[in-house]
């Protein structure tokens, strides 16, 4: 049982080193002078920018060799110190708490909405493959999946904010503001998860054990509830895990679009301002979230499917 946890912990360690090193190197090879960007981020671009940049370089030790700077970051990390933002000088951990908190809310809202929509449509479609529900489900899935999130987001904004004036087009703070960005993400997610759930349910309905449950004389609702849903859920849970990861990535774009102050927003700005500790911290937390999601999916799958426990 504990094997998978050990494997995931090892994965977390590897992710930390790789993500840290990559963000370090990638930021360095971006064109432009980092000290200059940071100075611009702090004081705004004015006439004395070159002087300010020189000061920044000296102050932050950006002139030291890259390897030294990386080892310093890694050493600090071992003491759970992610460092300070080069621009705001606030601890990276604080910035992340605020921004990750907001992102987590958005991601959770989107995932919850998508789970309410997707698998439910999937079960309806899968119980009667080729039926009306299935065909409508397929059409809907194709439309919402084909639409990039920014187009869908703009459409929702036009309809619900501009035409109907039900919801604010941008901002942050109340459930009303989270609804549109969450729905934008949720529709794209549900488009896919409904089809995965549909295929899974359709396969279960054809399985000999489903037929046998009927032959036992069980009422149809009992057959679906006791023998259909759990078996059909096994692949769907793995897929929802993948979606949760996609979501964290998607958040980067959607947050910027809706001016939502989350971790994706933070990452984009940190990159523009060459704020290395912020980039590293953000990327690291996102990487570790992937590992945590994978671990969660492992745990739920083990719980659902006793066959996996054999080898674990």
């Amino acid at each position: 049982m504990g094997n998978f946890l050990v494997a995931r912990l090892a994965q977390a360690a590897i992710v930390t080193i790789v993500v840290g090193a990559l963000s370090f190197v990638l930021i360095r090879i971006l064109p432009g002078d980092a000290a200059m960007r940071i100075a611009a981020g702090r004081y705004g671009p004015d006439a004395s920018i070159t002087e300010a940049a020189a000061k920044v370089r000296l102050e932050l030790g950006l002139d030291r060799p890259v390897a030294v700077q990386f080892l310093e970051w890694l050493g600090n990390l071992l003491r759970f110190d992610l460092g300070h933002s080069l621009v705001t000088a606030a601890p990276v951990v604080h910035e992340l708490q605020v921004q990750l908190g907001a992102s987590a809310w958005l991601a959770a809202a989107a995932l919850t909405l998508s789970i309410l929509i997707g698998p439910a449509i999937g079960v309806l479609s899968g119980l009667r493959p080729g039926g009306v529900a299935d065909r409508l489900g397929l059409a809907g899935a194709a439309i919402f999946r084909a639409m990039p999130p920014f187009v869908l987001g703009l459409l929702l904004m036009l309809v619900f904010s501009k035409q109907l004036s039900w919801l604010p087009p941008a901002g942050f703070g109340s459930p009303r503001e989270i609804l549109l960005p969450a729905l934008t993400l949720a529709l794209g997610l549900a488009a896919m998860s409904s089809r995965v759930a549909r295929n899974s349910v359709a396969a279960v309905v054809k399985a000999p054990y489903f037929a046998f449950a009927r032959h036992k004389g069980l009422p149809e609702a009992v057959v679906v509830r006791r023998h259909g849903l759990r078996n059909a859920a096994i692949p769907v849970v793995s897929y929802l895990g993948l979606q949760a990861i996609y979501l964290v990535e998607g958040v980067v774009v959607v947050e910027s679009l809706f001016a939502y102050p989350g971790i994706g927003h933070a990452l984009v700005h940190a990159i523009i301002e060459r704020d290395v500790p912020m980039v590293q911290g953000t990327a690291l937390v996102m990487g570790l979230m992937f590992v945590a999601i994978a671990a969660l999916v492992d745990a739920i799958s083990l719980w659902l499917d006793p066959r996996l426990r054999r080898t674990a």
């Binding site: 399985a207 000999p208 054990y209 037929a211 046998f212 449950a213 009927r214 032959h215 036992k216 004389g217 069980l218 009422p219 009992v222 006791r226 023998h227 759990r230 078996n231 096994i234 659902l304 499917d305 006793p306 066959r307 054999r310």
Partner: protein
Amino acid sequence: MNVRTAIQELSVSGLAVESAAGRVVSDISFTIGRGRPLTLLGESGSGKSLVAQAIMGSLPPELRATGKVRLDGNDLLAGSRGVQRRLWGREISLLPQEPWLALDPTMRVQGQVAEVHRYVKGRDARRSRQLAAGNLGEVDLPGAGRLYPFQMSGGMAQRVAIAIAHAAGSDLLIADEPTKGLDAALRDSVTARLRQEVENGRLLLTITHDVAVARALGGMVGVMLNGELIECGPAERQLSAPTHDYSRALLAADPESWSRQAPTTPGGVVLAGYGLAKAFGEASLFADLNVEIRAGEIVAVVGPSGCGKTTLGNILLGLVKSDSGSVERRNDLPALRYQKLYQDPPSVFAPHQPIRKGLADLARLHGRSWNVVERLVSRLRLQSSLLDRLPGQISGGELQRFALVRALLLEPVFLFADEATSRLDPVSQREVVAFLLEIVRETGLGVLLVTHDRHLAERISNRVIDFAQ
């Protein structure tokens, strides 16, 4: 236990099954009484399973049953399908083929028995659990309730299915190929259990292609061919002195009645394993095993399921690593010259690719000419029109012969036949085995034959390695 009176008789008359294309089963009539079970024998595609489904009311929607199916005078076909479905788990129980697939893989067995009490009989949860434990005890599986189906043998799974029928308390049992894929020992335990159900007063209809099952069950035996019941009579007479040619062929195809026909004059060793051992976790399958296979000989490996027969073959082919010892090939011939014939032909062909395409690709990949393929195809008496069908559109016996063509195309010196005929009906099995023997004699192919059929092993092999000891 039941308040209502038990059903005395199932009477079927003029039963036919029709598809849009025409009749697939016609004019079936028989009667099953208490203490007098009926076994329908026939090859796959003979329509015997359709008869069971028509009585059960579980025919696929594109098929329609006509005629009369009376349970104590009640005509089951007179109402809609829903009427028949209401009898499931109450009057009629099905013993499924391959019960390890028919049990929910993710639910403990106890729950799968208890739900009949809970949801069909409407008892409360606690009482249902108690009764389910009792039902499992009746089939000698006390305490097995905590197991999942994957932790059980095929025979245990079939007994769970019988416990479920007990829970339903239904009087008519329909057993659809109840021993398919079971080895001889498990098969005998399942048939003994079915006999007991008959003695307890249940009506039993069994569908099988295994003559041994029909013999063990006794009662009446019917033989089906091309959707018709060509003969039906008491088991003793049917199984000793059948009148119809096909019935005779069916009986002759049972390996038990074959003559011994092992190949002669084996040549040099083509494949050998010395000091082989394999254990999975704590359980050791075999240790310090030596085996040599010579050109032109058939070495059979017999034993119950799960004893390591297939693992031995896979070790010799290099598909599984042995824990110790070594495997030696003659002159280090390439691995391609060592081939395997699998148990379930449909699962080793790409389902959406015509057979011709697969064989043509293989011939091209290995630089063989298409003429070689055609020679092999006609050699195994396969019509070349079959080449353009999909694997699902031809019979299991034909498909297994194509699998043999595919293996022979690579000019093997060794073939591992892993239960290669156990899923075929006796007539097809006999054909495939006959071809295999001819090829061994002609080409000096060395064969490792893994089977759970001791009679088959003894009739056609030079040596038998017995894993049961």
